[in-house]
Symmetry: C2
Subunit: 207 residues, 2 copies
């Protein structure tokens, strides 16, 4: 990938994060980079290609972190670490999550990929819960659809913690991520057994 192309993606990402997707036109990006609009069109024929490019950049980073998670330190530690990495990645591409619905509506390629992704993610989460139960870290279901609904809540939190943060605070910085990591991680705590809770506390202490 050419340098200019990289520069365009990088500048676009930052501008989108700062001003929001719809507030940043191709001219905004070109002006900011001090290149001509024609040059921008040369590298990205359509505006949508920039956003799609950024989306798949993010996906790649997420995949990379997923494959390199250290699971040997225990289920909890692995999940905690992965959540943290994911949140950091999402933060760098937060415009995508802040204008999530708009993105899904305007860019069918992204929507298609994302729908496949969440199906996958939901299955992984269900499997994770099963493993936790079998390891005696998590209690069994007590009410109907309990863990299916828990999974769904985890998905919502994962997708929209950034949007919620954006609304509540004036300025979102990296330090806020820690706070939201605590908020989302604790979602699983009350379902843990005594043994699971000890493990959980250990991970929270070490992090």
């Amino acid at each position: 990938m050419s340098t200019t192309k990289k520069r365009i993606l990088n500048a676009s990402r930052k501008l989108f994060n700062q001003q929001g997707l719809s507030a940043v036109s191709q001219r905004t990006i070109a002006t900011h980079l001090k290149i001509s609009p024609g040059n921008l069109t040369y590298h990205f024929k359509k505006r949508s290609e920039i956003i799609e490019g950024l989306y798949f950049e993010l996906v790649e980073k997420m995949d990379h972190d997923f494959l390199n998670v250290e699971m040997e330190k225990g289920l909890f530690f692995g999940l905690y670490q992965l959540t943290q990495k994911s949140m950091e990645n999402l933060f760098e591409y937060r415009f995508m999550m802040l204008d999530f619905i708009q993105v899904m509506r305007e860019f069918p390629i992204i929507k298609k990929h994302y729908l496949k992704l969440i199906t996958q993610r939901e299955e992984q989460m269900q499997m994770f819960i099963q493993m936790m139960i079998q390891s005696g870290l998590m209690r069994k279901e007590e009410i109907k659809n309990e863990y299916q609904n828990l999974t769904r809540r985890m998905m919502i939190l994962g997708d929209f913690w950034l949007a919620s943060a954006e609304i509540n605070r004036e300025k979102m910085d990296k330090r806020q991520i820690e706070k939201y990591l605590e908020i989302t991680s604790q979602v699983i705590y009350p379902y843990l057994t005594a043994k699971g809770k000890r493990e959980y506390r250990k991970v929270e202490r070490d992090s």
Copy 2:
């Protein structure tokens, strides 16, 4: 309020829900109502006045439901009923929640009001939890910030269940609300005492 004004608000709400906020221009609305753009401008000088009008319509409905909730049937029942009503209201004005960030960015009047609202709502939720603990329905805190974080998760779920539903399903209808009512209501279940859980099941059965 004149009939035309009401018709404009109603049509706008439906068009916004269907096509998304940014896809509906004043001309779209005027054409749909078979009135002239000039007439629309007469009733709403600025486009933002329509959205602000709709926002305060929603707020009014929410307030009304909040004041008329039947609390004599128990804490749980009251909360459950209020949640249901709120979700139904939000569904009718879902464009607002689907383009939430955009709305907050573009309409400072709405943002200002909403920020005051969530502070209030968060306090109410905290108070509700304290009442539950004192009634022996909910256990005490076990880890740091546990209920503060729970409250925050409840806020996120309340604000973004619709957005999540929109992404996952092709078409969101009223019947889906029940499902998301279950998903969000269960968030409190694992924190309940044995007594609390009995109460919870009773409410879920009766609804």
